[in-house]
């Protein structure tokens, strides 16, 4: 079976060589994707998805033009689940690797970022502006952890001023954001697809990290199934606390592991029992907390550097992991 990236380079190029590993040649496991128009539009839906299986993957096409608009990736393909999970968990804060090789300027802002979720899948959609503006959804099926990608060209009849409210943006484009969201919300999976075990490794690896940025140094990261482990790249200014907040339920165990190649890094949870901080320059690269109540836990990341010898701005590789309490 040829890998899908080779078939659909313009749409799906992820900057990696085609994977011809033995796993890609395994017989597809039984399973299927369904699309049912959502929102009660039924056959009157203005736009529709047409699903065409391609081996263990499913290609998502424009029901009217047959143009390829997306894919549900195969089990054998090493899809970049870490980047997708980061986008799902951190929304606009994650400059996810999934943007790589998209037909847009990768520094373009993400507009109208919205979390979409059903019982079947969870993901984030956004509008990427430019001459080739697109509606972008990246998500995962909750059951199989297969990555779901949808990119749909959009146009706007009139100019939209900077700072326009999200609702204005969503209505100004054709197709509307609501119509496009309905395509995603109508997707579900059935059958016996095996669950992909593709989570980041259990140690922070810069190569696996997705950059996390924000307009304030306070980040929100939702570690929810199927994305319960993430690797993030966090820009940090030396000796200034950076904060990551993680929603939790009682009994959840959150683990944070940090890696810094230059300088030392300390991670602590506000909610964890406090311990005297060592005065000497020394890393505390791991922290763990068990949530005592529903709500959130607050992780602080602080970097120490030697002035003149090491840069004030550092990039911390941060692995976050959540285990659900019993």
């Amino acid at each position: 079976m040829r890998c899908l990236r080779c078939v659909l380079p313009a749409l799906l190029s992820l900057g990696a060589a085609c994977d011809q590993s033995p796993a890609a040649d395994q017989a597809p496991t039984p399973g299927t994707v369904r699309w049912v128009p959502s929102g009660g539009t039924g056959d009157q839906a203005a736009i529709r998805l047409l699903l065409s299986p391609d081996g263990d993957s499913v290609v998502l096409r424009d029901g009217a033009t047959q143009a390829i608009r997306g894919v549900v990736r195969s089990a054998g393909e090493r899809a970049d689940l870490g980047g997708v999970c980061a986008m799902v968990a951190a929304g606009a804060g994650a400059l996810a690797r999934v943007q790589h090789a998209l037909p847009i300027d990768t520094t373009a802002p993400w507009l109208a970022v919205t979390r979409l979720e059903t019982d079947a899948l969870v993901g984030t959609r956004t509008l990427l502006p430019g001459a080739r503006a697109i509606y972008l959804f990246e998500g995962v099926f909750r059951g199989s952890r297969r990555r779901v990608s949808l990119q749909w060209p959009v146009v706007s009849a009139q100019a939209i001023p900077a700072g326009a409210p999200v609702a204005v943006l969503e209505q100004a484009i054709t197709p509307t954001a609501e119509e496009l969201d309905s395509l995603v919300l109508g997707l579900s999976e059935e059958g016996g697809w095996e669950v992909l075990a593709e989570l980041p490794p259990a140690a922070p690896d810069p190569k696996q990290a997705t950059p996390l940025v924000g307009d304030l140094p306070i980040h929100e990261v939702r570690l929810e199934a199927p994305c319960t482990r993430l690797t993030l790249a966090l820009p940090v200014i030396a000796r200034v606390d950076k904060v990551v907040r993680i929603p939790v339920e009682t009994g959840d165990t959150i683990t944070a592991l940090a890696r810094l190649d230059e300088g030392t890094v300390r991670v602590t949870f506000d909610e964890a029992p406090s311990a005297p901080e060592p005065r000497e320059r020394r890393s505390i690269p791991a922290a763990r907390v068990v949530a005592a109540a529903d709500g959130r836990v607050t992780l602080r990341i602080r970097v120490q550097v030697v002035p003149r010898a090491q840069a004030t701005g550092q990039l911390v590789t941060l692995l976050l992991d959540k285990h659900r309490g019993r």
């Binding site: 929304g91 300027d105 993400w110 100019a159 943006l169 929100e220 606390d241 109540a293």
Partner: protein
């Protein structure tokens, strides 16, 4: 305001900002989800002070500012000082606007203060939420009030940092929803900072407490001292806010006088706001680490020439400047350090004599790379806060020991300026305040009320040039509101960092160069 082109071509869909995200927001002011452990809340309150110190005295933001002000000089590439403080061939900085885009190495200058101050605000709001909304008690009423007062104090101090540096920012308190923040003008941020600092002073006055020494790594402060500090910083916020001399003229100097007269140099309880450096592990006065180490940075020849015009020429002359012989005891003959050939040989100094100055050292060494412009060189270094007297790595040279943040003399000078500029100001009071440093530290002839306002303002400015050195980025705020204080093209404020603009979908913009040096005066 210079608007840079946005990042992508725009035809079908123009760039627009997303003002809100339709996702569940864990940062929302949900009191029930807030931190509930008293010990943890107290630790968070303490941590706000550490982060604020490190930000205010950090080099990433402050290094470019104090060298752009030609207060200190350094042409190292560290912290973008070489780019932002260098001078174009035409004598301007018209090619040296703040480079506020995500691809530029010089973007980091805008990021440090934004991240640092909003980190402080975030933590302070966590404390205020726990105490004010969740009614958390931290062991007893006094400790609870202490945490609340310090959190409000630091929230105000952080907003001061935003108001002094950026054209706009967010005002955040325990009622804010972080997902629905809207930019406020720098004037609105300034007013919010003053309100928070004034509120903190009131809180601190109402209950007796002591801020533990550990919160500043070595110096404890009483509740009345915290109140005085908050008033001093409120006065600083108003006095240092102007971007131009026109804005300077519209400052409410009567309010500044009122605040400063209750600040850290008022009455019998005069003190300096100090933390203790730990070698820059967790507590770092980075500006002094660089500029009280005169093999790292120097005092600009512009300032040196003010203190001793007979020997120190500006710009730096071929062959350098002569040993000083200043009537000002802060410079004296520039001698410094032990009578040790190794020391004097390495640093290029003259061993300390009876005429050695308290603040400045003379060095024959030209420490900067000639190719970057000899005008960066200076023979004068700043050693005021080197208590070792020999650039010991165990003192401020190595980031250890008492590190001044705001001095009582700084409050004197703000107060003096307010008396000189406010309607009905007391020139005698102003002269006395100026003399606290001019006479007591400098050994110069006293200023008198009879000189009149213009002469006293000149003497005040002289004191500001010397006394503000090393106190965070204060030298920059002073210089930008002095007529002709900053070179043409020098930005007078920072834009919101590009990274943050991109996240919100806002257009990039900047200040300085051939564009506007600052945003228009807000209504």
């Amino acid at each position: 305001m210079r608007i840079r082109s946005v990042t992508v071509g725009v035809s079908a869909l123009l760039l627009a900002g997303c003002n809100s995200l339709d996702v569940e927001n864990p940062n929302a002011p949900d009191a029930a989800r807030a931190l509930a452990d008293p010990a943890a809340i107290e630790a968070v309150a303490a941590g706000t002070m550490r982060t604020w110190f490190n930000t205010w005295d950090g080099m990433e933001g402050g290094g470019p500012l104090v060298t752009m002000a030609q207060a200190y000089s350094a042409s190292w590439n560290n912290y973008n000082m070489n780019f932002y403080s260098s001078i174009d061939a035409d004598g301007t900085r018209n090619t040296r606007a703040f480079k506020n885009d995500q691809a530029s190495a010089e973007r980091t200058t805008m990021i440090a203060y934004w991240e640092g101050y909003y980190s402080v605000v975030s933590s302070a709001v966590d404390v205020l939420t726990a105490i004010r909304k969740n009614k958390l008690v931290i062991s007893n009423p006094a400790n609870t009030k202490r945490a609340e007062a310090v959190a409000e104090f630091m929230r105000g101090a952080a907003l001061m940092g935003i108001a002094l540096n950026y054209d706009k920012g967010y005002v955040i308190d325990e009622t804010s929803d972080l997902a629905k923040l809207e930019y406020k003008t720098r004037k609105q941020v300034r007013d919010a900072a003053v309100a928070a600092l004034t509120s903190a002073a009131t809180l601190a006055t109402s209950t007796a407490f002591t801020v533990p020494a550990g919160w500043s790594n070595g110096v404890s402060y009483s509740n009345t001292q915290i109140a005085a500090l908050a008033r001093t910083m409120a006065a600083m916020t108003l006095a240092y806010y102007p971007r131009t001399d026109a804005e300077n003229a519209s400052v409410d100097w009567a309010q500044v006088a009122s605040l400063a007269s209750q600040g850290i140099s008022a009455g019998n309880n005069k003190f300096d706001f100090v933390f203790v450096g730990d070698g820059c592990s967790s507590w770092c006065h980075e500006i002094l680490y660089w500029f009280n180490a005169f093999d790292g940075g120097r005092v600009s020849t512009r300032v040196a020439a003010i203190v001793d015009p007979a020997t120190q020429k500006h710009p730096y002359p071929d062959g350098g400047n002569r040993q000083p012989n200043s009537a000002d005891k802060r410079m004296g003959d520039g001698s410094f350090g032990p009578n040790d050939d190794d020391f004097a040989g390495y640093f290029g100094t003259i061993p300390k004599t009876a005429k050695g100055g308290t603040d400045f050292v003379y060095s024959r060494e030209e420490i900067f790379r000639p190719a970057r412009g000899m005008y960066h060189q200076s023979n004068i270094g700043h050693i005021r806060y080197d208590r070792s007297g020999e650039q010991s790595p165990n003192a401020i040279y190595g980031g250890f020991g008492p590190a001044p943040v705001i001095s009582r003399h700084q409050n004197d000078l703000i107060w003096a300026e307010a008396e000189l500029r406010r309607s009905g100001g007391n020139l005698g009071t102003a002269a006395n305040l100026i003399n606290n440093t001019r006479v007591e530290r400098g050994g110069l002839a006293p200023a008198t009320a009879g000189e009149g306002q213009a002469s006293l303002l000149a003497k005040l400015n002289y004191e500001n040039e010397i006394e503000l050195l090393g106190l965070g980025p204060s030298s920059f705020y002073f210089r930008r509101r002095v007529p002709s204080g900053l070179l043409a093209g020098t930005p007078r404020e920072m834009p919101v960092p590009a990274k943050e603009l991109a996240v919100k979908g806002d257009a990039f913009y900047s200040f300085g160069g051939t564009g506007s040096a600052n945003s228009p005066t807000p209504p």
